[in-house]
């Protein structure tokens, strides 16, 4: 069964190339991708997930403000009745040279299921999504 996933670049970030690559990779992997493009607000992610009955939201951020932009997304999902939705984040999530381990811990604490550093092969997340959603 093909999984529906919502994809987008969060906040005021306009980096469109990675978004297109992920859209392509995920579609090739057999997912039904609802791509919101760039400059997507948390509310738009949540609304799209409800309307499309998505099982996962994949958030990208490249401009360093990812932490601020992503904070509260899990809470909004719970409020909207999407308690079981899987949340993924990837990219240059924070400014500066914070070790990725710390970034990952921070995002897991914020309610994300998986976090990816810059330069991750899309296949890694495809495999993870397939694994995570198989049980749902």
């Amino acid at each position: 069964m093909s999984h529906t996933i919502v994809l987008g670049v969060i906040g005021a970030d306009v980096h469109a190339v990675g978004n297109k690559i992920l859209h392509y990779a995920y579609t090739q992997a057999g997912f039904f991708v609802v791509n919101l493009g760039v400059m997507v607000s948390q509310e738009e992610f949540v609304q799209a997930a409800i309307e499309s009955e998505a099982k996962a939201i994949v958030v990208s951020s490249l401009y360093g403000h990812g932490e601020i932009d992503c904070r509260g997304l899990r809470e909004k999902c719970i409020e909207a009745g999407l308690e079981n939705i899987k949340l993924y984040a990837g990219g240059n999530l924070v400014v500066g040279k914070t070790p990725f381990k710390e970034v990952e811990e921070k995002f897991i604490a914020m309610g994300f299921d998986r976090v990816y550093p810059p330069g991750t092969d899309p296949k890694t997340s495809v495999d993870d999504i397939n694994k995570d959603l198989a049980s749902l």
Binding site: T4, A12, D13, V14, F32, V34, L36, V38, M39, E44, Q47, A48, I50, E51, S52, E53, Y63, G64
Partner: protein
Amino acid sequence: MKPILCIDFGSTYTKVVGIDVDEPRILGRTQSFTTVKEDINIGLEKAIEKLATMTGISEWPVRYACSSAAGGLKMIAIGLVPQLTMEAAKRAALSAGAKILKTYSYELNESELEEIAKLKPDILLFTGGIDGGNQKVVLHNAHQLTKLTIRCPLVYAGNKAIRDQVKTILSEHDWKVHVADNVMPVLNELKIDSARALIRDIFLEHIVVAKGLSKVQSTIDNILMPTPSAVLLAAELLAYGHIGGKGIGELLIVDVGGATTDVHSVAEGHPTQSNVLMKGLSDLKIKRTVEGDLGARYSLPSLVEVVGIEGIAATIPTSVEVVHQILKDLEAHPESFVSEPGLLKTLDDVAAEIAVKESVTRHAGTLEVHYTPFGTIYQQTGKDLSHVHHVIGTGGPLIYHHNIRSALRAAQYDPKNPFSLKPTAPHYYLDKQYILAAMGLLSIHYPKQALTLMKEAIIEV
């Protein structure tokens, strides 16, 4: 000479326009009270008699009609997320010429069901979920609707994956279900043509009969559509023209009435500046919005609330007490005109200006500024109308306005509100004879003549 009669059965007046399509010219225009309770033909005959006195013609072999009598085409729209499918459903219904009684989102509860039954819609538009998207809430709502104590034609235009299921559930409970394409098949993409066409068919087949308008079917060729649909047709023809004649280009029509203000735009609405990204639901090239709280008479109290009574008093200019008194008088006699001596502007004039300003502001798109590490980025929601060159006013409060240019200027871009994408330097026109609906009807068979007549009759002010 080939005379044609175009009839508009309004809620108050039955308006008739006689046209000679050979020349072409408008032979005359008259009106009489709509008589929907007794027999709608009585009012129509009276208007035709008046027209005969004016033109000497009493035989009209070809007649076209539109109607907003008996409350117009009353619809309820149901969607899932308010900003997504519910909004899409609302826009589909509006562009089909409907009057929206109320919209509902998420799971319908019992008290909402009671409310729907009380509102007695003519048609129910039921949507939810993109194609392949949400099923749970939509199916829940289908089951809820089976409990509704009323029945009316229902258009399902939601998630196609459960189309048959929804149809079965509802049909088993005596609903007459009409299936259209999903109004939002893909997220943020509007696709309303199928739903709109279906709504129009239902209007012709059921609603005209149900409202007692079918008595006229024997005397006229047909009630073809709801009046707002006719205006939209006229707007499209005037803007884009057709094979036999060029249109005037993108335009905006503001129709101020006693109870509501309608705004129609025929424009692409794409961004006109650089660094602008589009956000949210895509918009329709031919778009109609209706403001139920902005009207120059029956909706005056809510209109006054929009700017505050002090603001109104300052514009006239007069004291707050005088405005209070006028409002009180008008509530008792809504049919009367305001003629407070010694005032620069009448309350009617001010109300019309506010209706124009507010309704166009709500209709036009907006910009949001974002200061990003890459500089300033703008996000546009809705349509950019800044390059629209033609603003046309119609409706009683504008036709009888003492300074029509000043009233229509309220539709213009306001530097104090720079993020509202209203026309920056338009020309202003007045549909003084109130012929837009008639021209929309005429345009079905005589687009060339309708275009010529509109260009003549709609005057620049």
